[in-house]
Subunit: 464 residues, 2 copies
Amino acid sequence: MRNHLSALEAAVSPGGMLTGSDIGPRYHTDTFGRSVPAPEAVLRPASTDELSRALKICHACGLAVVPQGGMTGLVSAALPRSGEIVVSLERMNRILEVDRAAATMVVEAGAILQNVQERADAEGLMFPLDLGSRGSATIGGNIATNAGGNMVIRYGMTRGLVLGIEAVTANGDVVDSTFHYVKNNTGYDVKQFFIGSEGTLGIVTRAVLQLWPRPAERAVAFCSLASFADVVSLLNQLRTSLEGRLVAFEAMWESYYGIAAALPGIRLPLSAGKPFYVLVEAASASQGEVVPLLESALGNALAEGTIDDAVLAKSETEARSMWHVRESALEVLGLKRPFLAFDVSLRLDRMEGYLADVQRQAALICADAFVSTLGHLGDGNLHVGIQYPGSDPHMPDRLKATFYRVTGDHGGSISAEHGIGIDKRAYLHYSRSKSELALMKAVKLAFDPKNILSPGRIFDLGEN
Amino acid sequence: MRNHLSALEAAVSPGGMLTGSDIGPRYHTDTFGRSVPAPEAVLRPASTDELSRALKICHACGLAVVPQGGMTGLVSAALPRSGEIVVSLERMNRILEVDRAAATMVVEAGAILQNVQERADAEGLMFPLDLGSRGSATIGGNIATNAGGNMVIRYGMTRGLVLGIEAVTANGDVVDSTFHYVKNNTGYDVKQFFIGSEGTLGIVTRAVLQLWPRPAERAVAFCSLASFADVVSLLNQLRTSLEGRLVAFEAMWESYYGIAAALPGIRLPLSAGKPFYVLVEAASASQGEVVPLLESALGNALAEGTIDDAVLAKSETEARSMWHVRESALEVLGLKRPFLAFDVSLRLDRMEGYLADVQRQAALICADAFVSTLGHLGDGNLHVGIQYPGSDPHMPDRLKATFYRVTGDHGGSISAEHGIGIDKRAYLHYSRSKSELALMKAVKLAFDPKNILSPGRIFDLGEN
């Protein structure tokens, strides 16, 4: 190992490798505070060439590496495992080019999401990927995990916001696929292989991003509804009447809304006790359009009985306060008891039966389990929390196993946006067929036959 | 071969295999009328199971197969080559399910695009992929080629309209990845491998499609402009003011518009002689919205001097007549002389220099060459025609070679939406890097190690 390390140090520019006590806790601690032993070394390449040289050495020596972005992932994908070298893209964080007319931006993969958003804004445009961890998440990490977020209903996942990428594969080859256009049917779309591959097929070093017109105005409203069928009706009414101006449709079940009131600092926009609540956000690039539009759409829904009540935010403060109810999910769930948080996709027509089944099966394990639900309903994405009594140390694993099995039974995806990493690997078969898993492994072997890139993430090559 | 054929016949239901004189010309003739010798057999599986059984036999015997949809491709990908068995999906053409609330449709791959559009329409929704060949193109072919079309600026390519697929790989394995949701980060997104792979990685048998709200109203306008910079300004002004309601932005250079007038039946909406013309289409799901919106946007552009003149279609007939100018490209180019038609993507900021270069270099080969340009400008996609004197039989190849080299020099994509197939294979290196080609070949070998699926399309495994 010592010889490898000196070769690696020579491959990068000064400051490009950390060892021993120079390795701070941030390289081996995740966003939940879970910590693993420090890696032998942290490589911090300053350029694609440096990374390419370093990976050639790792490949020749069979040294495993794990790439790191902002360490905001939720499935343990970026925590180094024993024997792995960390590759941090933190020194490759420049915004290289903005083309305002074409609405594109070229960035290095270590660029922080929030910096990208702010630069787009300064150019009169918008990069519409947005997540709670915007201040530390990197574009490279967003691409590796195909990040979702709050505005997927309008702008899609990260996959749809990337026009081109450059990546370095396991053997150190630089794959230049930095296209700038939506239309490019010249053989396989190479970037698709890397997007969402959680660092297992290559390390993304550069990306060409698609920017969007920047909205001039937003409107936020909160509604209560009597049934799930009404929630679905409202979604489709707003999809039609607001069209491209509907940017968020966040549903909260009473099982969430009812307990949110207890969180200090939360102000409920509507009284609790109704079966469903929905937060709607609309945005428009034209001034003066979106408030009357949303007002009239909700007025119609009220008149037709689709919604029970509604309130429109009259200020930025009120809008933030409405979003606060939605975005405090982890704090709300953690108020009184330990809990597990899940992230699944389901067909709309299966959601009610699914949630009833989750509640029933959880109760079989633990009579006291409480299932609380909210989610990006326009994308079919639910975030489900299960609170449980903290006395039995095996309870979390038993609840998880049951939850994912039920999700599979209902044809759901066990990970809508967070990925698989290490944490969800054991449950992957509930969502993906044997033939899909076989193909994934064949692709992994084609890209990384020595299995040195993020080994064991998503799946273990040895398993069946 | 004879033994293989009886095994194949036994694998499919009655009527599932054609041989000899039962094989009509449609199985070996393309949309340009180019014909190749008839294949030994045409397989017409009636189900995924039948296709799976048949492919297992082909795989065991090393028999090459080429899948066929509606035979509307433009790059010779689906014409059988010597020794290849044709697999036609024409008996698998059912629409299996429509979920109106979730706006999804499940279809067999042989379903005709127009039937899918009409069924969506009957359900009050829209499938927004649209091409001239809608009446014969199949969804399977659209997926295999990642079809584009007229509304990509609003709804994206086929890749963005497919939520899940089922495909059969070279060894007969059925890959079930028929998800119904946008968000599904459970490992590699398997459908991405098959979309746009031109039949080389698997045969798509089923798809889950994303439907959209159906517009209630459309508005079409035609403008003339003084400069390319003005065209780009207009594009960005309309992107902002129309937002999700801008569905087409088709630019025509004077080099096209000026010669279009000579086509019988064409009525020019504005007088010729201006440097640029743009056809704009806007659509909205709300009644009474889109005409005043487009009128006001064009009024502003006129007042600011971005456009020189504009006319709004006052009837469906006028709208069709405007589209007729744009859609008659092949007829217009072919009026007087032989021509070559190209389909490229370019960065907006390189288009002017690129086209000047194309004209200059074409003139070096043939002083009389005439370059005529139009395109889906909002997608960076140009369709370039080169008319040439028909006397020299080597002229087309010389012009093609030059055209694609110049396209590569300007960082363009040599195929925006038509694909590579056989016809553009020799030029692929102008758009894709060596490392990309190496990855494509590694993926092909991982999926189809015996190279029996559409061999030689996109690239030849033997070449470097």
